[in-house]
Amino acid sequence: MALLALRLTDFRNIASLRIEVDGRDVFLIGDNGQGKTNFLEAVYLLCYGASFRTRNDRDLIANGSSEAAVWGRLAAGGEERGVGVGLGRSAGKRIAIDGKRIRDRAALIEFAPAIAFTHEDLRFIDGDPERRRSLFDHTLSLFNPSFIGVLRRYRRALRARNALLRAGDDRNAGMVDVYEPVLAAAGWEIRTRRSDLCAEFAAVFADLCDRIGGLSDANIEYRPSWREAASADDAAAELRGRRERDLAAGTTTSGPHRDDFRITLGQARFSAQGSTGQKRLASLVLRVAQAEFFERTTGRRPILLLDDVLLELDAGKREQFLRHLPSYDQAFFTFLPDEPYQRYGGAGTINLAVSGGAFTPCTAPATC
């Protein structure tokens, strides 16, 4: 899938832009703060109806403006669609496909997903477990919307059990008895799916860390909080067994909300053992795994958005990484002017010089 044309009005620092991007590789070249990432964010918004940088849609509207508009023509599976997203400070967000307003973002996601590689991804490696859980849950929900329902069910049952624990009333024991199997059933479903996905990610992760970075012993291992459990019934028994402790803590201390994914290099945690460059590489590889999982599940190739991510890789690893990118129909890369981006491009690469929210096509790289 690919973006063919993009029109922006009052989107972050981009006052007005109308551009055709009919190319497989698009390089955005400019100094920091000129609008490169904003461009990627607009493409992401067309694919998901949300930003990868902020949860507050108002942040996307240019200062001093009350509305922003993003429109793009996307192609996927031999079909073309005009997708429009309107953002208003008071009117909120409106999404339309071919001029027809849609209520559920799922219709957007199914058509043309993008995978964004950003600096923040480093947190998958050295951030807290929450980050890793969200990577896996996000991947599962993107490609199987029913997973969102399972997550909601789990959270609801968890909140109910926690409320009962906090009330600490003996009469509640019967209520906790009946909430635990419900919590365990939803939790077991989450655990099974995370476990399957982790096995797939681990294979891609180990392979690419080796081929790109020469790290022969990188691995991801799922560390479920219900360690001994082999079924939903076991999980319910584990909850019951820990009830005294949970009562004292006033919260549920086991379950998928306490899971982790241990990313390792040799025997040690990757975050402790790896250099900054190696950690950066590992975080990129996780995104590659996500893109490959997407292609295998849907039979389609996502749009790739790579935001400054090559910066922290040394020259050798950069070229290796680019060689091992997941297959794509279109990719957008951002570069600083002094990076040797000419070496990564080909004859069909579109170069856009970015300055002060303006995007100027340039055919001769030297003038960018």
């Binding site: 049952a157 509640n172 209520m175 008895d177 009946v178 909430y179 939803a186 799916r193």
Partner: protein, 196 residues
Amino acid sequence: MTSLDRVITALAKLPGLGRKSAARLAYYLLRADLSYVRALAADLAALRECIRPCAICGAYTEAERCDICVDPSRDPDRVCVVEQPQDIATIEATGEFRGRYHVLMGVLSPLEGIGPEDLRIDRLLRRVREEGIREVIVATNATVEGEATALLLAKQLKDLEVAVSQLAHGLPVGSDLEYSDRLTVSRALRGRVRLD
């Protein structure tokens, strides 16, 4: 504030209605046939005075006991337990069930402070003992709260001589197996039925 404003404000409090829809209804009433509006107002006023819960099952009725509880052709051995009175209409519409009902008037919900004592569970246990009921069919919703409530009923009914069953959870009629989520499929598997 004119009476028109008051009606709009009052209608907008109804579930599922925003101020815009409320205004549309109010303007409709303003121009509608006077006898229709008077009858509607009278019925609304009578609603709370005349309708009350059935002394036995808890369904809404104008009499002491509802039509189903006094109907001698209904099977007295079976009772279907529902969350709300309006759930009865849904099951009745199928024409599949000829037993009687019991309304819980809610579900367990720790987040809203609703516990077993707030539901009509004691009444159900008493009915099972006194009416000689042989099967209780639990028809709570397939939500987290509905499931927990069903488990609680099963526990409390365990020591009585009564069979307890739950509505099957499974594939929606007309749906594709391929597009069903695993939770639904695994429940459908557990609740499978023999074909012979």
